[in-house]
């Protein structure tokens, strides 16, 4: 019974609400379409960039306001060896160019009844399966990689987080104004 109520409040309710809204937004943003994502990688269509920049701009605005006022005590930051992010990103990009979706948009594309997205999901599950099998080996390289001391970009650049928010907002505005596609 405790497990069930935990699952309901900790997993099902947030997962269902956020998932429906997020899937809806991805579909409306036209990023559940492989051509949009490949178009971004071929630098012909900047929809993905626009969505990421404006999501960071508004998201960081709300997050840092909440943080300053004490609504949240910590910010969502991953603490892994720093170069694993870079190496992982490099591997991720190759897969994304081939698949044409990222994990979230692949799910949205599946909801859009695009058949290849289901094969992408199957491929991702297989990838996760292989990772679990080879994890003891991979862990050795993860330990070797150095850890990053500075966690936040604002600390690295010695600026206030809110001035970075402003830069991202201006960037989003400039993209909207000058990049048509």
């Amino acid at each position: 019974m405790i497990f069930f109520s935990n699952f309901l409040y900790q997993a099902f309710i947030p997962g269902a609400i956020v998932g429906v809204i997020f899937g809806f937004l991805l579909q409306k943003g036209n990023v559940a379409n492989s051509d949009t994502i490949i178009g971004q990688l071929l630098l012909r269509n900047f929809t993905v960039m626009k969505i990421i920049i404006s999501a960071i701009a508004f998201g960081s605005w709300f997050l840092y306001r909440a943080y300053e006022r004490g609504f949240i005590t910590s910010l969502p930051v991953k603490q892994l060896p720093c170069f694993s992010h870079l190496i992982g990103g490099l591997i991720f990009g190759i897969g994304m160019a081939l698949l044409g979706y990222c994990p979230g948009t692949c799910l949205a594309a599946a909801g859009q009844r695009t058949k290849d997205a289901w094969w992408g999901i199957l491929g991702m599950l297989t990838g996760a399966f292989l990772y679990i099998l080879f994890y003891p080996l991979i862990k050795k390289t993860l330990v070797v990689l150095p850890t990053f001391k500075t966690l936040f970009l604002s600390d690295l650049l010695h600026v206030k987080p809110l001035s970075l928010v402003l830069i991202f907002l201006l960037g989003a505005y400039a993209l909207q104004k000058w990049v048509k596609k």
Binding site: A11, P14, G15, I17, G19, V20, I21, F22, G23, F24, L25, L26, K28, N30, N33, S34, D35, I38, L42, L43, I52, A57, G59, S60, W61, F62, L63, A66, P76, V77, K78, S84, L86, I87, G88, G89, L90, I91, F92, G93, A97, L98, P103, A108, A109, G111, Q112, D116, A117, W119, L122, M124, G127, A128, Y131, L153, P161, L164, A172, Q176
Partner: protein, 170 residues
């Protein structure tokens, strides 16, 4: 915000995603991410097959169940997208246009490409500790250095790979 319209302005979508992700962090203390959903389902499969003594599963799933928030999130993302399609009466996409122009209209070839691409992508995502949504967008909104390193790597190799695959230089 016309819910019946097929495509929204990317800034509206981005802004709403930013709002949503901050709500998720503030209200539930979670993030929006999908790589962990795939990891959870794959781990569940491994555990059911009988290998629940794997190092990875012992490390990640000692504290939480296999069917967790991220799995529910992934399933409902599919549903949310299906609702959006239903409301705007869009037709299902076949083989992507760019792929068709480059690799022909063989469905088998496209599905094989999608499968291999997904496999490589997920290995990269787990190695980096997140995908575009969790790492680039949620971490980016927290101005985490890791998020920008991930995004840099993703776009550099993605652009190079896409230009090679699609012969974009010609």
């Amino acid at each position: 915000m016309n819910i019946f319209k097929k495509v929204w302005n990317p800034f509206l979508v981005g802004g709403l995603i930013g709002f949503l992700l901050s709500i998720v962090v503030i209200v539930w203390g979670k993030i929006i991410g999908f790589s962990f959903s795939f990891v959870s389902v794959a781990s569940l499969f491994v555990a059911v097959v009988g290998q629940d003594n794997m190092v990875f599963i012992q490390e990640k799933f000692a504290q939480q169940p296999f069917i967790n928030y991220y799995v529910v999130l992934a399933i409902f993302t599919i549903i949310g997208s299906a609702i959006s399609v239903k409301l705007s009466h869009s037709k299902p996409n076949g083989i992507p246009l760019l792929w068709k122009r480059r690799f022909g209209d063989s469905a088998t070839r496209r599905n094989a490409g999608a499968f291999i691409g997904g496999l490589i992508m997920m290995i990269g995502a787990i190695f980096a500790g997140g995908c575009t949504s969790s790492h680039a967008i949620s971490g980016g909104a927290a101005f985490a250095v890791s998020a920008f390193m991930f995004m840099g790597g993703m776009f550099v190799s993605g652009i190079i790979a896409a230009f090679i695959l699609y012969k974009g230089w010609k």
